[in-house]
Amino acid sequence: MFNRIKRGLALSALALVALATSPAQAQEKARIEWKVLHSKAMEGNLEGNSADRGAYVVTPPGYDQHPEKRYPVVYFLHGYWATPQMYQEMMKFDEAVDEAARAGNEVIMVIPDGHSKLKGGFYSSSPTVGNYEAFVGEDLVKWVDAAYRTIAKREARGLSGHSMGGYGAMRLAMKYPQTFSSIYAMSACCLSPMKVDEAGAKKIEAMTEEDIAKADFGGLAQLSTLATWSPDPTKPPKYVDTGLKADGTMDPLVNAKLAANSILAMVPQYLPALRQMKAIGLEVGDKDFLFNDNTALNAELTTYGVSHGWETYDGDHGNRIPERIRTKLLPFFAQHLARQ
């Protein structure tokens, strides 16, 4: 029933988008559109996160006037707690793409919806949360290539993101080197292994739907990462294995599952993939609580001889992101993405 209503809403969103795009007249400025596509990879997840996923698509000025022209694509993954809409409010992606085009860097930019019931799918694969990894790495890319005039090859696809999205960018670089050729990770989260202890597990077990609804960032993030990385399809209603056993002790395997999804632990297994990247850029603000983690990733990539750029700047976790998308991220892809 609810699903049908949701599908209905999705359809009307599609209709709106269709209206917005209809007259193919001169396009003076970058245009941002909210589109909905169906992701097979997201079907059947236990939290009921929709398999009809939204994404912003920003086309550069002149897109309508040059029906023969094809463009590289920059994918941008948003952070935890947020939605693409919240990022658009802060970043004004259309203005950023507009400015880039005026500097000679015409690209399509795509910002998919990585939000979930617990406010973030960590661009991972989980039966509880859904397969956001394959949604972005497979379904979304295929859809964008079919619906827009892209240069449909890895050399012309860049992947970037901020915070949870920076994590997603690094993760997908390792899993989909055949799809993306350059990576820009801003203030990436979840690089070092997370841990849940007895107290944390107890708190999560006790959380009701109501608690979840009014939880703050810190209160929800641990449940959300467990749903993503320690799913348990046999444990409704949360479908999470917190590791808390009947006798009150902790199952150490839960922390192994969290560890298995930390970027620092994954990197050594995926060096052949990372080496296929034409360019990798990492950056973090010096007042960011994730500064040390990102510094450790920089050191690890150096240890393994994975060539990459590394920049620290005066700033915190979010205060300079809109500016750096314009001054760093888009110029980075201008330099590294193929234009034909």
Binding site: S126, A260, P268, G305
Partner: protein, 344 residues
């Protein structure tokens, strides 16, 4: 000393190659029995590793009786990954491969059987990707499969490729299977456990870091070698000769949590929840273990994890230890399993 050993090994390899070539060139007379070819496959994925493991890998390829007489016929392929500590020769002899495959064909199951060399400096690669050991995972899934499809009359599609292994090789079958459902369609995992995580203790780390990198191939199983092999596979460090590993020992005597995380990240149970969709693509998954094998609890744990995630599979626990029944079971369980599940 080392150089001369290498020369001898290379000579032996050349001789083996020549023999293999000779076996091929032989007039394509009636092939009454299964034939065991010992070949070399060059693997770009292994090249350049820090341990100096050869990129030209020994591979046993067994073709079924009648292979020569039916040049139009194409066959399914069973890939088999051997266990830790030994070279594939030990498994070839243990299994009596020619006899096993002749027997299978006699029962109507003619398949090609391929066993690559998963040996490394510390006596086992764990079929993982590592700059220290080489990328054995990619060797198996990419280089080897491509080579076999190019050199033998295979049915070159996932539906006709099975992957199996014993012990470290069972780990490898599950690992490579999770990552490459586009290559293989059924898995048979023998005596691999998988339901737990090996963590590094201070003693292990101290012993591994004190190792001077000389390998005594006559040393018995156990000791530092197994730890070194797993650290080389899962916690490589190109900056730290002679073993190029990071055992994680910090100055205060604790172990770096990132190194523990790497061990966890390479455990089957740690990898599993991320690869449900991949495992669900398999036509069939089988686990087995002997009831006197120390890994029986671990195998049960792995099976209940698979069940929890709705991955259809079977676990068979039989009367036996870690290795004493493996020869029988290749004949009575593994080959018949693939006879049922591989497309012809």
């Amino acid at each position: 000393m080392r150089g001369s050993k290498r020369v001898t090994r290379r000579l032996a390899a050349l001789a083996a190659l020549a023999l293999a070539a000779f076996a091929h060139i032989q007039p394509a007379a009636a092939q009454e029995k299964a034939r065991v070819d010992l070949v070399k496959v060059h693997s770009p994925a292994i090249a350049g590793n820090l341990e100096g493991n050869p990129a030209d890998r020994t591979v046993y390829v067994v073709t079924p009786p009648g292979y020569d007489q039916h040049p139009e016929k194409h066959y399914p392929v069973v890939y088999f990954l051997h266990g830790y500590f030994v070279e594939p020769k030990a498994y070839a002899e243990l299994f009596d491969l020619g006899d096993a495959l002749t027997g299978a064909a006699g029962a109507g199951n003619d398949v090609i059987f391929v066993m690559p060399d998963g040996f490394s400096k510390h006596r086992g690669s764990f079929y993982s990707n590592s700059p220290t050991t080489g990328n054995y995972e990619d060797f198996v899934a990419h280089d080897l499969v491509a080579w076999v499809d190019a050199h033998y009359r295979t049915l070159a599609r996932r539906e006709s490729r099975g992957l199996a292994g014993h012990s470290m090789g069972g780990y490898g079958a599950m690992r490579v299977g999770m990552k490459h459902p586009e290559v293989f369609s059924s898995l048979y995992v023998m005596s691999a456990g998988g339901g737990s995580v090996k963590l590094i203790t201070r003693e292990m780390a101290e012993r591994a870091q004190a190792d001077d990198g000389t390998v005594d191939l006559s040393a018995p199983i156990g000791g530092a070698q197994g730890d070194l092999a797993q650290l080389a596979a899962w916690s490589p460090d190109p900056q730290r000769p002679p073993n190029f590993i990071n055992a994680g020992l910090l100055t205060d005597g604790t172990i770096d949590p990132v190194v523990q995380a790497r061990m966890a990240a390479n455990s089957l149970i740690g990898m599993l929840p991320q690869h449900i969709r991949e495992l669900q693509q398999y036509e069939a998954i089988m686990l087995d273990v002997g009831d006197k094998d120390g890994l029986v609890t671990d195998s049960r744990a792995m099976s209940s994890e698979l069940t929890r995630f709705g991955v259809v599979h079977k676990l068979e626990i039989y009367d036996g230890g870690h290795g004493d029944k493996v020869k029988d079971r290749l004949r009575s369980a593994v080959l018949p399993f693939f006879a049922v599940h591989l497309d012809r």
